[in-house]
């Protein structure tokens, strides 16, 4: 196994799950809450993590290749990585936990939990990626690889956030940003940020699941959220006002409140404002 760089976030630690060293960031106390961050890594979700830590023991994990987590050669898909997340859940001996997946992290969490959801009790997906329901000649979501870094940032959230000036970062910070980008490319270059097989597996997910979508998501249309909510048997879709794709950046207080509420009242109302999608 390759040496793992030091974790630069306070509270960060390295846990070996299966044969893979994963970076986790643990904070707060209460029910365990496993959080899988988005394309911008744990750093991007720190505000949300801080808010959740007053009610939960938050365990945020960098998936393989992100942050300081190892990227073993045998992992080349989110499907592969999902087994490593399951190894982590077992290693940490988490029980009756809440799982939260943000954007890309929602895809990771979903792929793991369709395989085994016994240690998780509720799932909250905040604008998850990974599902392809659009026609073959229509992109499911905007191709961020075709955009400049600044345009891609702009597309993902309403809150003003400056594109990071890479030249101003320390080498450790820069390495984390570049590893995150490389991992997004590895997992999402082609098929573009989706697994065509995922739609045929979502029926296995029996957890009460809340799918949240930003009303102003400019990256990926809400039809994708509707499809998640339709294909997961016990799921409900809710919109968050005044939010783009990164709910955790645009409305962290609202997202934290929704998570807290759903974790305590996992009652799913299967009444969507859209037509049902049948599995083909």
């Amino acid at each position: 196994m390759k040496p793992v760089p030091a974790v630069p976030i306070d509270g960060g630690e390295v846990v070996v799950a299966g044969d893979v060293a994963l970076e986790i960031f643990r904070t707060g106390s209460g029910r365990p809450l496993l959080l899988v961050p988005g394309m911008d890594g744990i750093e991007g979700a720190l505000d949300l993590i801080r808010r959740l830590s007053s009610d939960f023991e938050v365990i945020a994990v960098s998936p393989p290749g992100f942050g300081a987590s190892d990227m073993p050669r045998h992992v080349s898909s989110v499907d592969d990585a999902s087994y490593i997340l399951l190894d982590l859940i077992e290693k940490l001996d988490i029980e009756d936990a809440v799982a939260v997946g943000l954007s890309l992290g929602g895809w990771f969490a979903t792929e793991a939990l369709v395989k085994n959801d016994t240690r998780i009790s509720q799932l909250i997906l905040a604008a998850p990626l990974g599902l392809k329901v659009a026609d073959r000649d229509e992109p499911e979501m905007t191709d961020i690889f075709m955009l400049t870094a600044a345009d891609a940032e702009h597309r993902q959230q309403r809150t003003e956030r400056k594109t990071p000036d890479l030249t101003a970062l320390s080498e450790t910070e820069l390495r984390r940003v570049l590893r995150n980008r490389e991992a997004v490319s590895l997992f999402g270059w082609s098929p573009y940020l989706n697994n065509p097989k995922l739609r045929h597996r979502l029926h296995r997910l029996k957890l009460p699941t809340l799918v949240l979508w930003g009303r102003q998501d400019a990256l990926i249309p809400a039809a994708s959220g509707s499809a998640f909510a339709d294909l997961i048997p016990n799921a409900e879709l809710q919109f968050v006002e005044d939010a783009g794709h990164r709910l955790y950046s645009d409305r962290p207080e609202e997202l934290a409140a929704q998570i807290l509420h759903f974790a305590g009242n996992p009652i799913v109302k299967k009444e969507h404002d859209h037509a049902g999608l049948a599995i083909q």
Binding site: S76, T148, A149, L174, L178, E182, L186, W189
Partner: protein
């Protein structure tokens, strides 16, 4: 020294369009009959090169108005039949963008067979922006490159029974080339380098190493190659193992040569016209390489002029000449400039000459090539390091 004629086979009528010249340039701007006429013209110039005693180099790019050759082997399949003497160099085949290395091996074998064993094969990483067209993963790109390389060489060199291949990236039930290439054990293999480190690797394989438009950096590339070659093989490499690519404008007067060079300079201007997100697709360079690049700053990789200053983005012909990217003038001028560069980089045996570039038209290209072949080529063929005097101070400024 051997000289190779090279043209990117540009679709110049589109160069007046605003914006990027690659990836997202709409093909509605391509007039197919005009494209066909241009491609035929460039092939005519390659055939002229053959008659003039020059060798031939072709390349490929994708979805761009700066290069219409979409496959080295398609272009060389035509030239294998239509030329008689020239060595035919594909520089190169972007291996990690290819889905099927077996097909690459088959095309190499067929073109070598048709040409009577005149093929030389460059295996290259290619440009970052090309993964947008191939849609092949930018991550683990070189892992895939080397597995394809190993499989292709195994297929070409195989003189025994069929074999099977079950690698990490490629899987073949049975490999058996029909036809086999004429050159044994394989046509000469080329690779490209822009640093001493990558050149050192090519030396270990005994492959020919070319560096493109790198100016003074060619010196360290070649040094890296020579040192590694000596260590690996216990002897000095032949000069023919090293190549340098540059733009050459020859005319009977200096004024006319500079006028031609001005038209050829359009090649550099259009090559720059690519949106920034296509220049370093995440994963195409390793994290360490990208960190080094960011920390070194934007000028670190710019070629340097003889005064030590980085070559500006909107450089003049004179500045390109000073950096060793363009060689311009009468046959005597061009010979003297090439001789000086040759001496300063410690010698090389292949001049990869962009004798057509930009909007240089057919009559001008024909005249340039003819003049070069008659008056410069014979002198280059006998050039040795003992003919050269070297200004070492230049290298302290430009290294």
């Amino acid at each position: 020294m051997r000289v190779w004629q090279f043209s990117e086979q540009a679709y110049t009528p589109a160069w007046s369009l605003p914006g990027s010249m690659g990836v997202n340039l709409a093909s509605k701007h391509c007039e197919p009959e005009q494209a066909g006429a241009l491609l035929n013209r460039y092939l005519d110039e390659y055939m002229l090169a053959d008659e003039l005693g020059l060798n031939i180099m072709v390349n490929e790019h994708h979805s761009t108005a700066s290069c219409m050759s979409v496959s080295c082997m398609t272009t060389l399949a035509i030239l294998a039949r239509q030329t008689k003497r020239a060595r035919l160099l594909a520089l190169g085949i972007p291996l990690a963008n290819r889905t099927d290395p077996m097909r690459v091996a088959e095309e190499i074998a067929m073109v070598d067979a048709i040409s009577g064993g005149r093929l030389e094969v460059g295996l290259v990483k290619g440009a970052s922006y090309e993964v947008f067209m191939s849609n092949r993963h930018p991550t683990r790109f070189m892992d895939r490159f080397w597995e394809a390389h190993d499989m292709i060489l195994a297929a070409i060199r195989n003189t025994d029974e069929p074999f099977s291949w079950e690698g990490e990236h490629f899987h073949y039930r049975t490999v058996s080339l029909w036809p086999r290439p004429i050159q044994a054990p394989n046509p000469p293999i080329w690779m490209t380098a822009s640093s001493a480190g990558s050149a050192a690797l090519h030396a270990k394989y005994d492959y020919t190493c070319a560096t493109f438009l790198s100016g003074a950096v060619a010196r360290s590339v070649f040094q890296g190659y020579r040192q590694s070659y000596q260590e690996t093989h216990g002897r000095k490499p032949h000069e023919n193992k090293l190549g340098y690519l540059c733009v050459v404008a020859t005319a009977s007067t200096r004024e006319e040569a500079f006028r031609r060079a001005e038209k050829m300079k359009g090649y550099f201007d259009t090559a720059m016209r690519l949106d920034p997100q296509f220049r370093n697709t995440p994963g195409f360079l390793s994290v360490d390489e990208t960190i080094r690049m960011i920390k070194a700053g934007p000028n670190a990789n710019r070629q340097r002029m003889r005064n030590g200053q980085p070559l500006p983005a909107d450089a003049t012909v004179e500045q390109y000449m000073s950096a060793g990217l363009m060689f311009v003038g009468t046959p005597d001028d061009v010979y003297e400039q090439l001789k000086q560069f040759y001496g300063e980089v410690g010698g090389f045996g292949n001049l990869l000459m962009m004798g057509q570039a930009g909007t240089l038209d057919h009559a001008e290209t024909t005249d340039s090539l003819t003049l070069f072949a008659r008056e410069v080529l014979p002198r280059l063929e006998t050039l040795t390091l003992s003919d050269c005097t070297i200004d070492e101070a230049v290298w302290e400024r430009t290294a």
